[in-house]
Amino acid sequence: MNGLEGLRLPSPDNFAQRAEGMTGLDKPAGLPIVQRNEKGDRMKTRWSRAGAATAAVLALAACTGGNDRPRSANETAPKREPGPGLGKGYAHDPYPSTYRAYPGVATLVRNATVIDGEGGLIQNGAVLFADGKVVAIGQGLDAPAGATVIDAAGKWVTPGIIDIHSHLGDYPSPGVQANSDGNEATDPITADVWAEHSVWPQDPGFGRALMNGGVTTLQILPGSANLMGGRSVVLKNVYSRTMQGMKFPGAPYGLKMACGENPKRVYGGRNRKPATRMGNVAVDRATWARAAAYKRKWDKYEVDGGTAPDRDIAMDTLRDVLSGEILIQNHCYRADEMAVVLDMAKEFGYKVTAFHHAVEAYKIGDLLKSNGTCAAVWADWYGFKMESYDGIGANLALLEKAGACATIHSDDANGIQRLNQEVAKARAYGRKAGFEISDGAAWKWLSLGPAKALGIADRTGSLVAGKMADVVLWNGNPYSVYTRPEKVWVDGALLYDANDPKRRPVSDFELGQPGSGDVK
C-alpha cells in the first residue's frame, strides 16, 4: 500500500481491485409475478412462494392454450400445461420502483436563456411546468393562475443533467472498506449481481451531485473488475429511505461489461482466467453461448409450457440482454478492443448500447456511428493507465464531428458535480481542433444523449411538453466556470434552492456530524 489512496480519490474504474469483500447473495424467498401491458408498464405484482412451476399456473388465466406434445417421463404435472406467456415465466421487476414525485407547484421561469435539450436555445425564453411535467417552453408564455413566477434575467434554464456512469451509493462516502460495494470481484462473470442491491441511499454524494451539479438522473453501475459486472440501475436523484424509492420508474436495466486491463489484472493476478485480453473475450464468448442456450430453453417454455427450466439468476440477465430488454453498458478504452466487442455482439446477436470511458473512441467514430453505439466519455482524462495513454481532450468533439452518438460521463463523485464544466472544456478542445459546437447542441451531451443511451429519452432529457419537469435554473451561463445551479427541480418538485438552506439535502450520515448543514 502507498500513500496514493488517501490522497487521490481513486475511480472505481482505476482501482477495480479495491472492493474485494464477499457479499453472499441471499436467495429470494419467492417469485413475484409481474404482468406487463404492451408498453411494458408493470400492471400488478403478486407474490408466489412456490417458484416457477406455480408461476406458470398463476399465469394460466392470462394465456391461451398450448399445443399437444409428448411429455417427458419425469414431468410431474398431471396434464400438459400451456405456456405462461412471453416474459411471464418469472418476474422481470422483482424490486419495483416506489418512487413518487414530491409535490410541486406550477412554475413559470421567464426572461431566461433556455436550452431545450434537443439542440435548441431560446433567448429571453420561458419554461412552464406543472404537475411534475413540462407544459411548454418558448417566448411570451403566460403564467396560469396560482403559478409561481420566477424572473430569471441573466440566468439560464436547462434540462437536468443525466450522468450515465456513476457509482454513488455503491462506492459511497465515506469510502471505507465497509462501504465498498461496487465490485463483486470474486468471479469474472457476475451477471447475477444487481448494483441496486448495493446502493446506500444515504450517500452524501447524491446531494452534492444535485446541489453543485444539477444532476437529476443517474445510472449506478457495478465496477469494472469483472467481464460481466452485473446489472445497473437508473435512479432519480432524490433522497429516499430505500433504493426502491429512488428508482427511475420503468427505466430499462443495463448490464455492465468490461474489457481490457481490469478483468485480466484482477483475475490474472490470482492465476485465474482471464489473464489476457484474449482470455477476456474467450470467457465472454463461452458465457454468451451458455446464455443463448438458456434463452432458447426459456423462450420455448414460455411459448410451449411444460416443465419450467431451472432458474439461473445470471442467465436471466443475459437472456434479457439477448432479447433487447437490458442494455449493454460496456467499459472499454482502446479502439481496437471496442471493434472486437462490436463483432462479439454481432456474433451473439446483442447490441452494445454504449461504450463507457472509450478514451480512444475518437479513432473509430465512423465504426461507432455505423453500429449505432454511443460513447460515454470524460472530457480530458488521460495517461493514468496504459489503456488510457492515448486520451485526448478532443475525444467528444471528434465523435460529434464523425456523427457518432456521444455523451459526457463522470465515473467520479467529484466530477459528477461539474459535468456542465466538463462539456464546456470538451467544446473548447473541439474549437482548438477547428470544430464549433453550439450552446444548444452541446447540452445534448449532458441530458438527451445519456437519456437515449439509458432508454428513458421519452420521459426525460429535454424540455419537451409532457416530459418530466427535471429542470435546472443556473445563476449564469452553465458553460462558464463561474456559474452554479440556483434551483433544481425533479419532476417539478423544488429539491434545491441556493437561497433557501431548508432546500439543501443533508443525508443521515452527515446529520449531527462536523459540517452538517453547511454549504458544500
Binding site: 500513500g3 490522497l7 487521490r8 480530458d380 482524462w381 493514468f384 471528434l398 473548447a428 453547511d518
Partner: protein, 444 residues
C-alpha cells in the same frame, strides 16, 4: 508585430525537429528583452487583473508587469491585445515526471513500498523531462510543479522537488525542496495501524536523527533492521533544523492541531500542511502558527472519517483567516492532468456568488495556483508571479485563464518560448478524420 512573429518563429524549435533530436540540452540560452503589450495582465500575487498592461522580461527574469510599464528600447514586442497575459501556474502537489502512466507500475517512481529508505529518498534524479505529461500540461498553462514522493514503508516519504515544464532537459528548479510526511489516517496505516503509532514513529525517528548528529560513528544506521538509515537521518536533521520544509499530509481538524503542536518540541520545524480538508475549523490556529496550506481545492465530500466537515468554502475561509493557501489536485482524481487547477480556481470564484459560501476574488483565486503554492514552498521570490525578479514564466491566453473556454496561445518558461504542441495534439491531428487514407495512420 511582424518582427515579433519572426522572432517567435526563430525562438520556437520546430516540433518535428524537437521530436527527432530529443529535448534541448539546457535553457541557459536567453533571448534578450521581450515586452508583451496590450493584454489583460494577471500578476499572480492576488492583485486584480490589469487591463491593457505590459509585461517585460529579460534574460529569463521578469523586469516589470503592470500598467504604464515602458517598453525598453530594442525589446521584441508581442501584441497581446484582446488576450490575457498571466503568470504561469504552479501545480501544488504532483507526480509529474515521476510517472509515465500511474497505473503502469514499471513506469511509476512515486513511491517505494519495499525500500529500506524513507526520509533519505530524493526524487530529483528520477524526474524525467520527456514524460508526456510535461508537454501536455504545459499546453494547459502549467509552468512549474511541486513534485512529491508518496508514502512507502515509512511515514516519511522522502524529499520532493520543484520543477519547470520547459522543453529542455534542465528540469529541476530546486531539489530537496521539502520532506513529505503522512500524519493522518494514511500515517497511521503506514506506521502499523494507528495515529498514535505514527506519532511514536515520528518522535523516535527524529530522536534517532539527533543521536546521529551527536555521534555519527556510533549510529547504527547500517544494520538490517535499522528503522533509520544514515541518509534518512541526515534528511531529518535538515527538517529539524528548518533547512528543509516539512510537508505534512493531514485532513482532520484534530490532526491539524496535533501537527501545529509539533513546534513545541521541535521549534525550528518549517511546517506546510497538505490537504487540510477540515482546515477551516482551525483556520485561526493555522494562521497564528503562520503555517501555509496546499489544500484540496474543492473537496466537499466526507470521503473519509477525517474529512467529514469538507466544504468547497474551505479555501475561502482559510484565506479569510489570513492563511497562505495554494491549491492542488490532492483529494481529487488527477486523471485530467494538473491544468485542471485553473478550473478549480475558477470554481472558488464561482461559489462567492452562492449564498453562505466563502469564495475568492478572481485575483485571490488565481493566486492559489500561482504565488500561493510558490509561497507555501518558500519560493515566492523565485516563481509564481510576474513581480520583478521572478523567473519569466509567462502565459498568453486567448481569454480569462480560469474560464473553461480559454487556452494558452503561447507559453514562456524562464523567458523561453515553448513549443505549443504535445503528444495529445498530434494524436488529435492524426485522427481528425478517423478513416485510413492511401496509407495507414502510422504514416501520418
Amino acid at each position: 508585430m511582424k518582427r515579433a512573429l519572426l522572432l517567435l518563429a526563430t525562438m520556437l524549435a520546430s516540433p518535428a525537429a524537437a521530436q527527432t533530436a530529443g529535448l534541448p540540452q539546457s535553457n541557459t540560452l536567453r533571448d534578450g528583452t521581450v515586452a508583451i503589450t496590450g493584454g489583460t495582465v494577471a500578476i499572480g500575487d492576488g492583485s486584480a487583473p490589469i487591463q491593457n498592461g505590459t509585461v517585460v522580461f529579460r534574460d529569463g527574469r521578469i523586469v516589470a508587469a503592470g500598467q504604464g510599464v515602458a517598453v525598453p528600447a530594442g525589446a521584441t514586442v508581442i501584441d497581446a491585445a484582446g488576450k490575457w497575459v498571466a503568470a504561469g501556474m504552479v501545480a501544488g502537489f504532483t507526480d509529474m515526471g515521476l510517472v509515465d502512466a500511474a497505473g503502469v507500475g514499471e513506469s511509476n517512481d512515486s513511491s517505494a513500498n519495499n525500500s529500506p529508505f524513507g526520509a533519505g529518498i530524493d526524487i530529483a534524479p528520477a524526474i524525467n523531462p520527456a514524460s508526456i505529461a510535461i508537454a501536455n500540461e504545459r499546453l494547459g498553462g502549467i509552468t512549474r510543479a511541486i513534485v512529491s514522493p508518496r508514502g512507502g514503508d515509512s511515514i516519511f516519504a522522502g524529499q520532493g522537488a520543484v520543477i519547470d515544464l520547459g522543453n529542455d532537459i534542465d528540469i529541476v528548479t530546486r531539489a530537496r525542496a521539502f520532506q513529505y510526511v503522512e500524519l493522518g489516517e494514511d500515517g497511521g496505516r503506514i506506521a502499523g495501524g494507528s495515529r498514535p503509532a505514527a506519532y511514536a514513529m515520528l518522535r523516535d525517528l527524529l530522536g534517532q536523527a539527533q543521536d546521529y548528529r551527536r555521534s555519527p560513528a556510533a549510529f547504527d544506521g547500517r544494520g538490517k533492521d535499522a528503522l533509520l538509515k544514515r541518509a534518512d537521518a541526515q534528511a531529518l536533521l535538515d527538517v529539524l533544523d528548518g533547512k528543509t520544509r516539512l510537508l505534512v499530509h493531514a485532513e482532520r481538524a484534530s490532526d491539524i492541531r496535533a501537527v501545529l503542536g509539533l513546534t513545541a518540541t521541535y521549534p525550528a520545524l518549517k511546517l506546510v500542511l497538505l490537504g487540510a480538508t477540515e482546515g477551516w475549523l482551525v483556520a485561526r490556529e493555522i494562521a497564528a502558527a503562520r503555517v501555509p496550506v496546499i489544500a484540496s481545492a474543492l473537496a466537499d465530500l466526507p470521503a473519509s472519517f477525517e474529512q467529514l466537515a469538507a466544504t468547497e468554502s474551505n479555501v475561502g475561509r482559510l484565506r479569510a483567516a489570513g492563511v497562505e493557501v495554494g491549491i492542488s489536485t490532492v483529494g481529487a482524481n488527477d486523471a485530467p492532468g494538473e491544468h485542471v487547477l485553473a478550473q478549480f480556481a475558477g470554481n472558488l470564484v464561482a461559489i462567492a456568488k452562492v449564498p453562505g459560501h466563502t469564495g475568492l476574488s478572481w485575483g485571490e483565486a488565481f493566486r492559489t495556483v500561482a504565488a500561493g503554492p510558490a509561497a507555501a514552498i518558500g519560493m515566492e521570490a523565485e516563481i509564481g508571479s510576474l513581480r520583478p525578479g521572478r523567473r519569466a514564466d509567462v502565459v498568453i491566453w486567448d481569454g480569462d485563464p480560469l474560464e473553461l473556454s480559454s487556452a494558452p496561445t503561447q507559453v514562456f518558461i524562464d523567458g523561453r518560448a515553448q513549443p505549443m504542441d504535445s503528444r495529445q495534439t498530434r494524436l488529435r491531428d492524426r485522427y481528425l478524420q478517423p478513416q485510413e487514407d492511401t496509407l495507414p495512420k502510422a504514416y501520418r
